[in-house]
């Protein structure tokens, strides 16, 4: 199963879990799987229209994802990282 690494700001719904193994052939399916397991996670990463929110950058096995990120095909064992900025200034 692909592994979704959960960054600290998104760990409220996951109850502190830092990674979630979830079935899915694409990133979207995996994110839907995380939402099913931890309700409340989905709105953190997806906007009201179902698109990815803009304030995170996505990586698969260390490679930055671009283009239609949600349709990215995933293989068992793939690791997805979500990098988001938090700072005050």
């Amino acid at each position: 199963m692909p592994i979704i690494q959960i960054p600290p700001p998104y760990r409220g719904p996951t109850g502190g879990a830092s990674e979630v193994d979830v079935d899915g052939a694409t990133l979207l399916e995996c994110l839907q799987g995380v939402e099913a397991k931890y309700p409340g996670f989905g709105p953190l990463v997806l906007d009201a229209k179902g698109g990815l929110r803009k304030f995170a950058t996505w990586f698969r096995n260390g490679d930055k994802l671009t283009g239609d990120v949600l349709s990215t095909p995933l293989e068992p064992g793939d690791a997805i990282d979500i990098i988001s900025s938090v700072a005050g200034g």
């Binding site: 700001p9 760990r11 502190g16 953190l44 929110r53 304030f55 990098i83 938090v86």
Partner: protein, 573 residues
């Protein structure tokens, strides 16, 4: 081109208006910025002194690696006893003066005393020829931008400035210390928190002019190793996600999602105006109005600072940050980033902390003294401050003073300092930082944005963040570069050609906190004094109040064994 072996320090006596240069103590070589300020204040400042009297000590200390070729490393710390918290305070900022002082080999400026004539103003000139105090009565009560435009004409183009605005001269406890940035030498960077501008003003010190002339970067002891570190670190950063490439204002929508885009004096955690306050709107404005992202200091690779233009395409302010958009924006129910930009500029002109000022205005609004979202009323109010009206002075003195002025009950603060945007109710480990940091409620002391932590994790996560940030704020590196303790100790090792161990760097961070706690204790402050105010204990956001018990809070004062993640943890503030 000064190197670490030639380091000096400047001592200024404002009672007699004299300044001298001394050798910098070799035993302090690995101390800079916040840690150096804490060490000097512990040794030379009576913690019980009047913060606005002659016995307070004002410290201006660049970081250890400032002035070198290390990326994004020119931060300068301003330190002293805070007139706002009554405890020790350090606030740091970017801009050029930190880099310039270190290129001259000046590790710290220590300012003591007070002129007998409270109406007299002075400047301090620092250059390759030495240092001297000069008369500056002609600049009395000038706002920061006008002051700097005049100073540009008086000093060489290579000079940068540290300035005190009218709020500092009026000794208002929300006053900041400004520094000039690299592009236009505007006074847009501020060591904002804790009222240190009032300390500078109380000493009659209107400005410090630092002219490095043709001085080059500092020479590390191990130039090859240091150069390789700079090259590798820069490459890794630039190949990474560069999360601050559009500035901290891009955090607005995420903060809203996390219930920490506080609204109407923090009675709610989300703002209906999130779209119009989002920093993305600022970036979009670059295309039609001009403006851009830039670096506030030479050698910065983060470039998080936005230059904001108005509708006519003229420069308005820089940088408009997340904290300001929240405290002067959503927290006052102001819907437009353009209005917040106006108020940010006014605060920079007056020399005021935008966080403290926004917190104070929200209390005035909550009390009925001004309508929610009345941006024109806020502009009028800010322009009253240097006119000396009672209402203006209350706002300039911050949230607690405004609470007293209005008699309003809801005054969110810790240790007399208003709460930054990041709210301690959904983010309880950050709340533990606010309760225990010697700095009071200051997100830069240890920001933990993790709403999924359990209560038994709060103290370690806060302590880890406080240690990493204390070391970062001593190094000169900007927190937005997000260096780890391992990164910093490696740079120190190359700078001095000695090994700096993990234990040493952990100890340095902890010692800084211990020095500061000891100062606060001697000043008469207790752990209970630091607890968050009643408003945060009783008024919920998203169903949560701040309820971490004191027995958990008090665990912070014991040094916990270092876990592996300490050394890779990134500075975050």
């Amino acid at each position: 081109m000064a190197g670490p072996a030639d380091d000096k320090m400047i001592r200024v006596d404002m009672t007699n208006q004299t300044a001298t240069i001394e050798d910098f103590p070799a035993e302090y070589r690995l101390l800079g910025g916040r840690a150096l300020s804490a060490k000097i204040l512990s040794a030379e400042c009576d913690p019980t002194c009047d913060p606005l009297g002659p016995d307070n000590v004002l410290v201006m200390a660049p970081g250890v690696v400032s002035g070198t070729a290390a990326p994004t490393s020119g931060r300068i710390s301003i330190g002293g006893k805070s007139p706002l918290t009554g405890g020790i305070k350090e606030a740091n900022t970017g801009g050029q003066p930190g880099q310039h002082l270190m290129k001259l080999g000046i590790r710290v400026i220590v300012v003591k005393g007070q002129p007998s004539d409270a109406e007299a103003r002075y400047g301090l000139e620092v250059n390759a020829d030495g240092v001297k105090v000069v008369a500056a009565d002609a600049h009395k009560m000038k706002r920061n931008y006008a002051l700097c435009m005049d100073l540009h004409g008086e000093y060489p183009k290579t000079a940068s400035f540290i300035t005190c605005g009218p709020a500092g001269e009026m000794r208002l406890t929300g006053a900041s210390v400004a520094t000039t940035d690299q592009d236009n030498r505007y006074p847009a960077r501020h060591a904002a928190r804790g009222g240190l501008g009032a300390v500078m003003g109380s000493k009659g010190l209107k400005f410090v002019a630092v002219d490095p002339g043709r001085s080059g970067v500092r020479r590390p002891a191990d130039r090859a190793r240091f150069g390789e570190l700079c090259k590798t670190y820069t490459k890794d950063y630039q190949e990474g996600p560069q999360m601050f490439q559009f500035g901290t204002s891009s955090v607005v929508p995420m903060a809203n999602m996390l219930n920490t885009l506080v609204y109407k004096n923090r009675v709610e955690g989300q703002s209906p105006d999130v779209e119009t306050l989002d920093g993305a709107r600022i970036v979009e404005s670059f295309e039609t109005r001009g403006g851009e992202m830039h670096n506030c200091m030479t050698g910065c690779i983060v470039k998080c600072s936005n230059i904001v233009h108005d509708a006519q395409g003229e420069y308005k302010t820089s940088a408009l940050e997340f904290e300001t958009l929240t405290l002067l924006g959503s927290n006052c129910a102001v819907a437009s980033w353009e209005d917040v930009a106006d108020m940010d500029r006014l605060c920079d002109e007056l020399g005021l902390d935008t966080i403290e000022t926004g917190g104070a205005i929200a209390i005035l609004m909550d009390s009925g003294g001004l309508d929610w979202g009345d941006a024109d009323g806020m502009r009028t109010l800010l322009n009253e401050i240097d006119q000396g009206t009672d209402r203006g002075k209350a706002i300039g003195n911050g949230a607690v003073a405004t609470g007293k002025f209005t008699g309003h009950h809801r005054v969110p603060h810790a240790l007399g300092q208003t709460i930054p945007a990041w709210d301690p109710r959904p983010l309880k480990a950050t709340g533990v930082t606010y309760c225990t940091s010697p700095m009071g409620a200051d997100h830069t002391a240890g920001l933990v944005v993790n709403p999924g932590l359990s209560q038994d994790q709060y103290v370690w996560e806060s302590q880890k963040s406080q240690i990493v940030n204390a070391v970062c704020d001593s190094s000169g590196f900007c927190q937005f570069l997000q260096p780890s303790l391992d990164d910093i100790r490696n740079f120190y090792g190359a700078l001095y050609d000695e090994e700096v161990s993990r234990e040493q760097i952990h100890d340095q961070g902890w010692q800084c906190l211990e020095d500061e706690w000891a100062f606060n204790k001697a000043a008469g402050l207790t752990a209970e004094d630091g607890y968050l105010s009643e408003a945060l204990q009783k008024d919920p956001i998203a169903g949560q109040v701040f309820d971490v018990p004191m027995d958990i809070i008090n665990q912070m004062y014991t040094k916990l064994p270092a876990q592996e993640d300490l050394f890779a943890a990134k500075a975050s503030g």
